[in-house]
């Protein structure tokens, strides 16, 4: 599956990382160009470069990162033909279904192949994936893609309606995964695809609760047990380096300052009014009293300036005192904070799981069998096996 060489070669599928939201796959084809608002590149420029290189554009308009594809990157880069599964669900389903190297997995529908790529990687060369898609064009597209990605040894894609016609395999699957609008119509078929010689598992992926309820009923009636359901999400955080939050002392000082300013203004106005009044009498009064008033005004201003300087000092002292030493990165006046991004995925689907246990022969020659029958109708938890 994909290249495992260190260096990019002609014909490789590579992923360009332009921004977090613009991640694109392409096949390195000498003679072709790559042109976007992140600059102009020739495919041939990439050949021989190590995977994970940052490549500058020919026209100096920017650069791109070239990555080796992984199923996780593919999920972010793939051409959407349907709704797809993302990391959180894929990873959880893979673990619950115990998909690992050598597993045989049945999957329907293929859709855009997001899930298919991930499990094909996980089951590896000794495993097998049987994938089904009833939409012909989609099936053809997916088949091409699997071929280009070197997955054809592991994945067998069949164009068929699994609800109507079932799967092409019997008694072999370790796990079945159903991402269909009506999974309950495929559960009987799933049962026949699953192996019966040890624990086999199923997952149905449905966005609506009504679908879950029908699925659960059908699983129960078909003989699946340990039915359970989960929802899982990944909440991305945004990290920021922000100024340390100011203390209320700052607010208080600011208020005091503006209060003083207002008071000064008022006093000035009074003084001016008085001055005007005095002006009128100036001609008749002597100059001594005027000079005295001036002196008093100057003294007041001096005191206020002193306070202003004092305030600045207080604020600095507060900043250094309340900044935790442990803050990594950034100086003492900033802090690293994080929060869940403002807009996040709130729901993908409900994951309904169940197991299919092997049919077990009654072990002891039965004196117990009468009681067994008894037990199954009286304690309904232990119904007779099929």
């Amino acid at each position: 599956m994909w290249s495992s060489s260190n260096k990019i070669a002609a014909g490789d599928v590579v992923i360009t990382w332009l921004t977090r939201d613009v991640i694109q796959p392409f096949v390195v084809t000498p003679g072709k160009d790559l042109n976007s608002r992140y600059g102009y590149y020739r495919h041939s420029d990439l050949i021989g470069q190590p995977y994970g290189s940052k490549i500058g554009s020919r026209n100096g308009k920017g650069f791109i990162h070239i990555l080796r594809p992984t199923p996780e990157l593919w999920t972010l880069a793939l051409p959407h033909r349907t709704q797809i599964l993302y990391l959180a669900d894929i990873a959880f389903i893979t673990s619950w279904l115990n998909i690992r190297p050598g597993s045989v997995v049945v999957e329907a529908g293929t859709g855009s192949g997001s899930f298919t790529h991930s499990i094909t990687r996980t089951v590896g060369r000794n495993g097998k994936v049987f994938s089904y898609e009833f939409h012909e064009a989609r099936a053809a597209k997916a088949r091409d893609e699997f071929e280009t990605h070197g997955m054809s040894d592991v994945v067998t894609l069949t164009h068929r309606n699994v609800c109507k016609d079932g799967f092409t395999v019997e008694n072999v699957a370790d796990a079945v995964f159903l991402d269909l609008p009506a999974p309950w119509d495929a559960i009987d078929h799933a049962k026949s695809a699953l192996r019966k010689d040890r624990t086999a598992r199923i997952c149905c992926f449905s966005p609506c609760m009504e679908q879950v309820l029908r699925t659960v009923t059908s699983l129960n009636e078909t003989g699946f047990t340990d039915i359970t359901m989960y929802e899982t999400l990944i909440r991305p955080h945004e990290v920021n380096q922000l100024p340390v939050l100011p203390s209320i002392a700052v607010a208080s000082e600011k208020l005091k300052k503006s209060e003083r300013k207002r008071e000064d203004k008022r006093l000035r106005q009074i003084a001016q009014a008085r001055a005007k009044h005095t002006e009128k009498r100036k001609r008749s009064d002597d100059e001594g009293a005027d000079a005295e008033e001036d002196r008093m005004e100057r003294k007041k201003t001096k005191t206020r300036n002193g306070t202003d300087e004092g305030e600045a000092t207080t604020q600095n002292a507060w900043v250094s005192a309340t900044t935790p030493d442990s803050l990594a990165g950034g100086d003492a006046s900033t802090q690293v904070v994080s929060r869940v991004m403002p807009e996040v995925r709130g729901h993908t689907s409900f994951l309904t799981f169940a197991v299919l246990l092997p049919r077990v022969q009654a072990s002891a020659p039965d004196i117990e069998s009468a009681l067994q029958r008894d037990r199954s109708d009286l304690s309904s938890g232990l119904s007779q096996c099929d």
């Binding site: 940052k54 080796r68 619950w96 590896g124 990944i234 938890g381």
Partner: protein
């Protein structure tokens, strides 16, 4: 149908013991037992040993060897009897309500003494339950739902049964999460699953890991390598790390031995020469055969160490996974030179702050593409007809991940 005979047969004779088979219980396996009340316990299964499960009493361990994982057994005497799994009871609510039931009434005329007498005379649990139900004056008045609850309660009390739990990564992680969350640093299965997917663990790959989560991360990686590839771990002890979670996985040898190698933070330093690699003066004067054996063993150990160091320093690993108690930047600075271009870096922490600080530093460093911090969210539901809802109690957090791509 011929395949009915072999299908699901659990007799040891029809399941040849195979070292690579992880679906049957082998001698020496650590087996998880789920009791009817939901509690899970783990015990080693040794030939001719006895397994004691608290109130359920004990049975002969030989009875389990060769059995498939996942089956439900009833203890009968000292032996076991496979019983069918529990179906999800299809309980329809009937007209009966709890309206007419008087809580204070003597509803259970079968006294403790009478029950004891029944038990002594060898009456089966199912019989006792039946008798109790007959004696339960108001039984017919109960709703199907509460009848069901009543029966389950009684059943759990009298039936000596348990289910063996298959040691899948999911089940083992869940077992440890409930048993001793702190020893796995609260690493929950959804987060662990994301780690091994994000790091692109695949058969044949080569990975570097730091596991201070009792071997849970190592177990996950080994499980996904399936006996093909390489895992080099760096630990903080001077002998090979214990990784107790791995014991619970019951890995066959070939999944672990050729795949896993370990160095520690001293031996992983390029400028440091471990004592074992210094010329050994004792080597020169071999006195006895015993001495020679000891010397050869020493030599083998130091060769292994030298080659693991060589492997690390050559580098080119495809992924770096960290779930550690140490400061993540100090780990990253040491190990990043050994991973290749386009490799994934995945770091777990039960706390958000160490990862946000780390992200804030990594984003200034051009060798890391798009470091991002995420939180895992998981919700489990009770699914019963007419009574489907999220479980009332749940885990607070599954922890945080930082993921970036090495440039």
């Amino acid at each position: 149908m011929t395949d009915l005979v072999t299908e699901g047969s659990t007799k040891p004779s029809t399941t040849p013991k195979n070292a690579t088979d992880r679906h049957h219980i082998h001698e020496g396996d650590f087996v998880m037992f789920r009791l009817l009340n939901g509690e899970v316990r783990s015990q080693q299964v040794n030939r001719s040993g006895a397994i004691t499960l608290g109130r359920l009493g004990s049975f002969n361990a030989d009875e389990l060897i060769g059995q498939l994982y996942g089956l439900t057994h009833e203890i009968v005497g000292k032996s076991l009897k496979v019983i069918p799994p529990r179906n999800m009871e299809d309980v329809e609510d009937t007209e009966a309500t709890n309206e007419l039931i008087n809580d204070g009434m003597a509803v259970q005329p079968l006294t403790a003494m009478e029950i004891e007498t029944l038990k002594q005379s060898g009456v089966h649990a199912a019989e006792i339950i039946k008798k109790q139900i007959e004696a339960h004056a108001n039984y017919e008045l109960k709703t199907e739902y509460s009848k069901d609850k009543y029966k389950k309660r009684k059943e759990a009390k009298f039936l000596k049964a348990f289910t063996t739990v298959e040691p899948t990564l999911f089940n083992v992680c869940e077992y440890w999460f409930h048993k001793d969350q702190t020893r796995i640093r609260d690493l929950r299965i959804d987060t662990l699953s994301q780690m091994i997917n994000l790091a692109n663990i695949r058969p044949g790959g080569r990975y570097l890991a730091v596991d201070d989560v009792s071997g849970l991360l190592v177990s996950a990686i080994l499980d996904r390598l399936g006996g093909d590839g390489r895992l080099l771990t760096i630990c903080d002890v001077d002998s090979p790390p214990a990784y107790p979670v791995m014991t619970q996985m019951n890995f066959p040898q070939h999944i672990v031995v050729p795949i896993l190698a370990s160095l520690n933070w001293a031996t992983a330093e390029e400028d440091y020469t471990p004592v074992a690699l210094l010329p050994d003066p004792a080597q020169e004067s071999i006195k006895s055969d015993k001495h020679r054996v000891r010397m050869n063993k020493r030599k083998a150990t130091s060769n292994l160490l030298a080659s693991a160091r060589q492997e690390l320093f050559v580098g080119g690993f495809e992924g770096l996974l960290i779930a550690s108690e140490y400061e993540p930047m100090s780990i990253l600075e040491r190990l990043a030179p050994y991973i290749g271009g386009s490799a994934s870096v995945v770091i777990y922490s039960p706390h958000l702050q160490p990862l946000t600080s780390l992200q804030n530093r990594m984003r200034l460093d051009p060798q890391y593409l798009a470091p991002s911090v995420t939180e895992s969210w998981l919700r489990r539901y009770q699914v019963l007809p007419g009574r489907t809802h999220p479980t009332m109690m749940t885990t607070g957090s599954g922890g945080y991940l930082l993921h970036a791509t090495k440039m």
